[in-house]
């Protein structure tokens, strides 16, 4: 993976830059010792490591603004970082870039039950929001698997999802307001506690922009009343086709489950060995369907869903009868990654989305690829929305295995695009899928996105080297070739 070449002039100015940072921040908030910087050298995508030029830990919006303005004026790159759980390398540092660690922004600023929202600093964890309001029977809906530690600011940057997003949406659907700082130090407040602000939806544009457009310093999220009950059903199928058809029948019956997950045989076995959730082992596909709402309604829907499972050939159907049992059902799915991790020294988690009906074909072709590369793969799948997480098993200590796993992963993502899907459903492009972007987007498509980047950050200082396979100068991107008078007059119906 090639990152932007470090600017020697910046590397040479390291001491001067550190001094400037110490004039903005307390000395203890400016990290320059290599040993300490190693803590920041990687995020959830551990295959890539790079200690930053230095790490700075601001705690006020004014400090963030001053840091960015300095970097803007001095031409220094900045990589923002929340809790560092990105699975696509979104927070991978640059040798000549300042790492802007937002961990000190860890306060909940306001809980507003009347407007059903919470205002937090970006370093607050995703689960921290739910924890703060669950006593009043509210919760924050998006629930990425890393929710114990991942920061809400990072969720905004990546537009994080989770197992409940089929019904409750991604981060972008649950945001009401943002305070952000642009690279030139401008502080911008977008949205608030109301809906649909006027003007362009800049908040929506920033969500999922992977730290390339602005740094988030405050987040207002909507909170929802907790469903009264939730129950889950485990349904085992002799084939993934039947499981897939069952998902179609559930949605066709007008039911949008709170969670709708699928696991393939290797994933089922790994999870069962790991947590003993009581999963059936003689099946090719397992569905976990969760229904939430008032008790009577949930019971009714459980019956309906179980009936549909039977009609689609399920060989085992089990509904949870207690909260404890429901948690056990989920324990297997939620620990699928570490469980699969026990099968091999390393695993590589992919994240494509496909049209759901293509699942059997994708699984079949994936099996062929698995044979081709000589690496095993286990699949967990957000079945409701077609988001596939193949886990490729490999051994990094074996010469060439990591490279093979990466190649295999890239082939899987190409397959997703070929099937009418996309490169990433919720993990982001980052550095990981950066070079695959041309599989999905034409040069013109990408240039339109990069020009938007230019509108926010002309010098390309915020998180460069992520998302886009090639860096272009904004002036070059903006050039337009208009040949006056040489355009054919359009031959188009007119009145």
């Amino acid at each position: 993976m090639e990152m932007p070449r470090p600017d020697q002039a910046v590397l040479d100015r390291r001491e001067k830059i550190a001094a400037a940072m110490r004039s903005i921040l307390p000395a203890s908030s400016v990290v320059t010792e290599l040993q300490e910087l190693q803590a920041f050298e990687s995020d959830g995508l551990t295959a890539y490591r790079q200690p930053p030029l230095m790490a700075v830990l601001p705690e006020t919006t004014q400090q963030v603004s001053a840091i960015l303005k300095y970097c803007h004026d001095e031409g220094i790159k900045v990589v923002p970082r929340g809790s560092g759980t990105s699975l696509s390398g979104g927070a991978l540092p640059l040798e000549d870039g300042i790492l802007l660690a937002m961990g000190k922004f860890n306060r909940i600023l306001d809980i507003d039950y009347e407007d059903r929202c919470v205002v937090v600093q970006p370093g607050v964890s995703n689960l921290g929001i739910t924890r703060a309001v669950e006593g009043n029977n509210f919760y924050y809906a998006p629930d990425p698997s890393s929710q114990i530690i991942c920061s809400i600011g990072g969720n905004v940057a990546e537009n994080s999802g989770g197992v409940h997003c089929l019904k409750y949406g991604l981060t972008t659907n649950n945001l009401l307001g943002l305070e952000v700082v642009l690279i030139d130090g401008t502080v911008l407040r977008l949205g608030g506690r109301h809906l649909d602000s006027g003007g362009y939806d800049i908040m929506g544009l920033l969500t999922g922009s992977e730290g390339l457009l602005a740094v988030v310093t405050e987040v207002t999220v909507r909170i929802l009343p907790k469903p009264e009950t939730a129950r889950a059903v485990l349904m085992g199928f002799p084939s993934s086709e039947q499981a897939g058809e069952c998902v179609g029948s559930i949605i066709g019956a007008g039911i949008v489950p709170g969670g709708l997950e699928m696991m393939d045989r290797p994933a089922i076995h790994a999870a069962e060995d790991f947590v003993h959730a009581g999963y059936p082992l003689d099946v090719e596909a397992l569905l976990i369907v969760e229904l939430d709402g008032p008790a009577g309604e949930v019971d009714l829907l459980i019956e309906e869903v179980s009936r549909l499972a039977g009609e689609n050939g399920a060989t085992s159907i089990r509904a949870s009868n207690s909260e404890e049992e429901r948690q056990t059902f989920w324990a297997g799915r939620k620990s699928a990654f570490p469980a699969v991790g026990r099968l091999a020294p390393d695993y590589y988690c992919m994240d494509g989305t496909i049209p759901r009906k293509k699942l059997p074909e994708v699984l079949r072709r994936m099996k062929e690829l698995s044979q081709h590369y000589g690496l095993d793969v286990a699949n967990v799948f957000h079945a409701g929305d077609g988001n596939l997480h193949p886990l490729i098993l490999f051994d990094a200590s074996k010469e060439g295995d990591l490279h093979k796993a990466e190649e295999f992963g890239a082939d899987i993502l190409r397959l997703c695009v070929e099937m009418g899907g996309v490169l990433t459903g919720e993990h982001g492009v980052g550095v990981e899928k950066r070079d695959l972007m041309p599989e999905m987007f034409s040069k013109t498509d990408l240039e339109h996105q990069q020009r938007l980047k230019c509108a926010f950050d002309t010098q390309g200082l915020l998180n460069p080297g992520k998302v886009f396979p090639q860096l272009h100068r904004c002036a070059e991107l903006g050039r337009m070739h208009i040949h006056k008078g040489q355009m054919p007059f359009p031959d188009i119906p007119r009145f």
Binding site: R116, L170, N173, L195, G293, P355, V422, F441, P490
Partner: protein, 415 residues
């Protein structure tokens, strides 16, 4: 002489833009014209521009109910889309709005898909289900650079690249000409009911809505309307009526309505309640979606968005100097419709209203203009200087020569 183009494919759209670029021409991009009045520039000035009518780009190109994805050409009439979706037992992710009454006409104008996307306005269920912007998955377009490009995808979950769908939603055709749009559908609700709750004051009505929305009974919409001034029928004779809408499976809706009634009655106050059946519920929400106010030709209508808890206070404060204003509230108190009768000087009233709304942290759009409207008051709420500057840069990145719907949302003439 202004030209009037009606392209029927993306290449023709591209040719038109390239032609405009080569001659410094301005293009006014329109669908069915049902939201043409939402424009900071007057219709007379628009008449001098070349008009691009997008309605020949029409038809659903792919609809897979199982995948919850529908693709259609930009100019497809919304009625056609709704028919297809309803026939499959589904509904759109957002609640589309009939805009006829806003035009002071009788027609049930729904407009085109691109028009709905470009204005990003959804009905009462917006409160919980999101707006148009929450359900657009991808699009194809021609930018103001005369280039064909696409964004997003054709699946319901996707974070690949920037979310340009958010930008085109609510951009009123100022960044690109949409040619194809992908939207999300979902299983349709089997039925709906509404719980009507009596209140003496708007504050009490907001409180009732807040309790309903904070309950575990999945209330999908919450509005409050005054007995006098509301143009639909109300089952209770009280000064204000707060209404909670419950949607879903038959048995589920029954259970939730019953239990919500119990919860409201457990509050201690004697609240008058009424449960309406599906037909009355639908009629009520259709009226609320169109503001619920009767509009005369000389009336103006404002759409104000504010934090729900501030809705009632904002109303009170506006009424102090102008007791003849009429109000309804939707979105749990966060959307306020204000009818301004000709009794008041429109310009003065507009300035005072916007100032007041800003004090409450909201924004106001002039949704329907009075007959003698002179465009002195901008239709769209002015942006902060920093936001306007950034918006201009965003616009310029897609439309550097500023040829698309110039000046529609804010002043963005080429420097």
């Amino acid at each position: 002489m202004p030209e009037f183009f009606k392209p029927s494919n993306v290449q023709q759209v591209q040719e038109i833009v390239q032609w405009a670029l080569s001659g410094d021409e301005k293009l006014n991009v329109v669908g069915s014209g049902s939201k043409a009045h939402l424009d900071n520039v007057s219709a007379e000035s628009r008449n001098d521009e070349h008009r691009v009518d997008m309605t020949a780009l029409s038809g659903i190109t792919q609809y897979d109910p199982d995948e919850m994805v529908l693709c259609a050409r930009a100019g497809t009439p919304m009625t056609e889309i709704l028919e297809a979706v309803t026939a499959a037992g589904q509904q759109l992710g957002f609640e589309p709005l009939v805009s006829g009454p806003f035009l002071k006409g009788d027609g049930a104008v729904l407009g085109t898909l691109a028009g709905v996307v470009s204005s990003n306005f959804a009905g009462p269920r917006r409160l919980t289900a999101g707006s148009v912007r929450d359900h657009v998955l991808g699009y194809d377009a021609v930018s103001g650079r005369g280039e064909i490009y696409k964004a997003g995808g054709r699946v319901v979950k996707n974070v690949t690249g920037y979310d340009l769908m958010k930008l085109v939603c609510g951009s009123y055709g100022t960044v690109s000409l949409l040619t194809d749009i992908v939207i999300k559908t979902q299983p349709g609700f089997k039925t709906e009911q509404s719980l009507f709750m009596g209140a003496q004051t708007p504050e009490e009505a907001v409180e009732l809505m807040t309790r309903a929305l904070g309950s575990a009974f999945a209330v999908s919409s919450a509005a409050a309307v005054p007995a006098s001034g509301f143009r639909g029928e109300l089952p209770l004779s009280v000064p204000w009526v707060a209404v909670a809408r419950l949607e879903g499976h038959e048995a589920a809706v029954r259970e939730r309505t019953e239990r919500l009634s119990g919860l409201i009655l457990s509050g201690g106050q004697k609240t008058e309640l009424h449960v309406s059946d599906e037909a009355r519920s639908k009629a009520f929400w259709a009226a609320v979606g169109q503001s619920g106010l009767e509009l005369g030709r000389t009336d103006g209508l404002w759409k104000i968005s504010v934090a729900p808890s501030k809705g009632a206070r904002l109303m009170r404060s506006l009424l102090v100097d102008r007791p003849e204003l009429d109000f309804t509230m939707d979105w749990g108190g966060g959307l306020i419709w204000v009818r301004v009768p000709e009794t008041y000087d429109f310009g003065d009233c507009a300035a005072a209203l916007r100032e007041e709304v800003e004090d409450f942290g909201g924004h106001a759009t002039l949704w329907v203009q009075p007959e003698d409207y002179d465009h002195e008051t901008p239709v769209f709420h002015p942006l902060s200087p920093a936001e306007e500057l950034l918006s201009k840069r965003i616009k310029a990145s897609f439309d550097p020569e500023c040829i698309l719907n110039t000046g529609r949302m804010f002043h963005h003439f080429k420097a």
